[in-house]
């Protein structure tokens, strides 16, 4: 039995050592990769100066065309990430502040994402490689249930979020496999058009006060960032468009722009504009809040 316990002890030591080595290896790779997604890009950049930054979900990622702003004299970047919720947008903003970004205006998408105070596991995972390095990320996640395991158990974070930052993504980062996430200053155009278009159903949606949105407002105020919160277009056949009326009851400062583009030809799906629609919508936003500088 003594021999068996010695054998198990050695086995556990090998296991622990393997976890430490793998954790170090993955972290080194992610620390050297800045071109796989917007979070790695943000983490690896410092002292950036932007006139306008966009934050939100796919309804930012696919809807705001930075070129339109850039051509009119505003340095702009689209930091919208598909599947991101406001909680992740708040962390991105705080990370920008940590990385000494200077931002004049933040355009934040606040519409379907205030139906919930929940977070996105898929996007949360993308912050995890930098958990030890970034105080902002640690502070942001210090109250989540598995925080101690994520921080203290070697390699746990990469196992827990293996679908997003596991071996496949580590390998892709190692070989600098290209993605289109950072092309066109972060704008990802949708090219396919769903026909016939399936109506989005918002009948179970109801806007609620959102902790992350409140936090974003506080960060903007503290850092002198002009915040413009907007709704983004949904096709006219959307069930329960009343939802947008309720948004303004909860947060009157939010600008109603869900009707800025209405024709079905501009929609890829009911909740997402195609490239032409995105340009129309960006123009509408620009015209409402900005004036050309050149």
């Amino acid at each position: 039995m003594k021999r068996f316990f010695q054998f198990l002890g050695k086995g556990l030591a090998v296991l622990l050592l393997t976890m430490i080595v793998l954790d170090a290896l993955y972290t080194v790779v992610y620390k050297q990769s800045d071109d796989r997604n917007k979070i790695s890009h943000l983490y690896h950049s410092e002292n950036q100066q932007y006139d306008v930054v966009f934050l939100g979900s796919s309804r930012v990622n696919n809807h705001f065309v930075p070129k339109y702003f850039n051509d009119r004299g505003y340095k702009t970047y689209n930091f919208g990430i598909t599947r991101s919720r406001l909680e992740e947008s708040a962390l991105m903003l705080k990370l920008m502040v940590e990385r000494n970004y200077v931002i004049d205006t933040l355009i934040l998408q606040v519409d379907l994402n205030i139906n919930t105070n929940d977070h996105s596991e898929a996007i949360r995972s993308l912050f995890m490689p930098y958990l030890h390095q970034s105080k902002t990320i640690r502070e942001h996640y210090k109250d989540i249930p598995e925080y101690n395991e994520l921080l203290l158990v070697p390699f746990y974070r990469y196992m827990h979020y293996d679908a997003r930052i596991g071996f496949r993504e580590m390998y892709a980062s190692l070989v600098h496999k290209e993605t289109n996430a950072l092309h066109r200053d972060g704008f990802n155009a949708l090219t396919k058009n769903q026909r016939p278009m399936v109506a989005a159903d918002l009948s179970k949606y109801y806007p609620k006060r959102n902790k992350a949105y409140e936090e974003i407002k506080a960060v903007c105020k503290a850092n002198n960032i002009h915040l413009i919160a907007v709704t983004t277009p949904m096709c006219m056949s959307t069930i329960n468009r009343e939802y947008f009326n309720h948004i303004q009851k909860v947060y009157p400062e939010i600008y109603r722009l869900e009707d800025a583009v209405t024709d079905d030809q501009y929609f890829s799906t009911c909740g997402h504009l195609n490239e032409k629609g995105a340009t129309e919508y960006t123009k509408a936003v620009f015209d409402q809040f900005f004036k050309p500088r050149n």
Binding site: M1, F4, G11, V14, T18, F155, H160, D162, F167
Partner: protein
């Protein structure tokens, strides 16, 4: 409580320590500890089903004693059939009732009578097919006088409920397991070490091979209408590796766990995808179930005696029943039927036992022939797996039809943000490791075992699927 869960990782060391330190003095203590651990293990799924397990154990225990005590053949037969009927009755109600009710309703509707079936809202008790077959083999062995009935209820309960095999086998035989439970087990370092290696290799098969293949196979099967021929072929291959990794991985963990307690369980898999024909495949796949059907159904039906027609009937019956054992769905029956259709030509030509020997591959034409046979057997097995995996028979036929007619063989990027061809290298490495260690129980032991173990641990950690947890497939049966 799954074998690959944190709960089990805590449970197992506790039972191990109690077994060898508190219970080591006598077999009685050891068995008490194992039975309590087993009942706790089972109650973690759903404590209510513990009553069913205990009832089934009591039924078989008392029936066996009554069969042995009966002085007339009629009485013996009465007890045997009573016990079989009650056991199969439970299985029927929990597993098959809704299937039959719906099938009859569909049949009546098809001939013009609208019938609304009365369906039961019941959950299938985990492991019911396995422990029912355990009990049945024991009862039938008693009836035929192959063994004496077990008078010690604790020992018998442990035979039925022993936690490593309780929920998904292997389906043990009283002749093999009960004698081991009748004596005190002494700790054997080599056996325990082999058990640890087998557990680790089982985990590699489950979390690295099966669960990774599952991500791709699910993505392909659930969107087969938009997949091209190559992707559909890969989908079938991925599922073949998924189910093999899942079930043989489970069996390895079960056998390895049992070795930690000094108890050997029946081998359940013997590298089935290296079979040269379908008959050899069935001697290597889910061995404990195949041999159960052979001993308790095929041979009593007459086996390979009698005319060819009679033999064909027997083969059909056992494959159909085997398919039906897996689940109450026409897809499983179709899977059994296809395997019967593969098997019958071999039997008619008296070639079903022509690949009983072991083989080596060298650089000659005979080896090439063997290799081609292995690949052909694997290919037809994959076609049968399509029926096993599909939701309906129609889906299976549509999948196969599209696989052979779609005509495009390019790499596809599909909804789960992966390329369909990504798994090739992983599966190739797995096949090479399996091939290289096919004369052993697991590939870790032997020279450089620490290096191999480190690689396996690293593979589990780095390549395993943890965020999208998948149950063992055979738990549903």
């Amino acid at each position: 409580m799954f074998f690959n869960s944190l709960h089990f990782a805590v449970f197992l060391p506790i039972v191990f320590l109690m077994y060898w330190f508190v219970g080591q003095k006598s077999k009685i203590n050891q068995n008490y500890i194992l039975i309590l651990a087993s009942y706790y293990f089972y109650s973690c799924w759903d404590w209510r089903f513990l009553f069913l397990l205990v009832f089934s154990t009591l039924l078989d225990y008392f029936s066996a004693i009554q069969i042995e005590k009966s002085d007339t053949p009629q009485r013996k037969k009465l007890w045997l059939w009573l016990c079989i009927s009650i056991n199969l009755g439970f299985l029927g109600v929990f597993k098959y009732y809704n299937f039959f009710a719906e099938s009859f309703a569909e049949l009546f509707t098809a001939i013009g009578f609208k019938v609304s079936p009365l369906l039961l809202d019941v959950i299938l008790p985990v492991g019911i097919s396995f422990y029912t077959f355990h009990g049945l083999s024991y009862i039938i062995d008693i009836y035929y006088g192959r063994i004496k009935s077990e008078k010690n209820f604790v020992d018998y309960s442990l035979f039925v409920s022993y936690f490593p095999l309780l929920v998904a086998g292997p389906i043990e035989r009283a002749t093999h397991l009960l004698p081991q439970l009748k004596k005190r087990r002494k700790f054997d370092f080599e056996k325990a070490k082999e058990g640890v290696y087998q557990i680790i290799w089982g985990l590699v098969k489950k979390v690295v091979i099966a669960d990774t293949c599952a991500v791709y196979a699910n993505g392909i099967f659930e969107n087969y209408n938009s997949m091209n021929s190559l992707s559909l072929m890969l989908g079938a291959i991925y599922f073949a590796f998924q189910i093999y990794g899942d079930f043989s991985g489970y069996s390895d963990i079960a056998l390895g766990t049992s070795k930690l307690f000094g108890i050997d369980l029946l081998k359940n898999f013997n590298f089935p995808y290296f079979s040269r024909d379908i008959a050899e495949f069935w001697r290597r796949w889910h061995i404990s179930l195949s041999s159960w059907f052979r001993d308790y159904l095929y041979i009593p039906l007459g086996g390979s005696k009698g005319s060819k027609l009679f033999q064909i009937r027997n083969v059909m019956i056992i494959f159909l029943v085997s398919g039906f054992w897996h689940g109450a769905n026409w897809t499983f029956i179709a899977w059994g039927l296809i395997n019967a259709l593969y098997f019958i030509p071999l039997m008619v030509l008296n070639r079903n036992r022509s690949n009983m020997d072991s083989f080596q591959l060298t650089l000659n034409f005979d080896s090439l022939r063997i290799l081609i046979n292995i690949m052909l057997t694997f290919a037809i097995t994959c076609v049968a797996w399509i029926f096993f995996r599909s939701k309906t028979i129609q889906d299976a036929f549509a999948y196969i039809y599209r696989m052979f007619t779609e005509g495009h063989f390019t790499e596809q990027y599909f909804k789960i943000e992966r390329y369909t061809t990504e798994l090739w290298s992983l599966l190739l490495i797995f096949v090479l490791v399996e091939w290289n260690s096919r004369t052993k129980i697991e590939p870790i032991s032997g020279k450089y075992s620490w290096v191999k173990m480190s690689f396996c641990l690293a593979a589990i950690l780095a390549l395993g699927v943890f965020s999208d947890y998948k149950e063992f497939i055979y738990f549903q049966f």
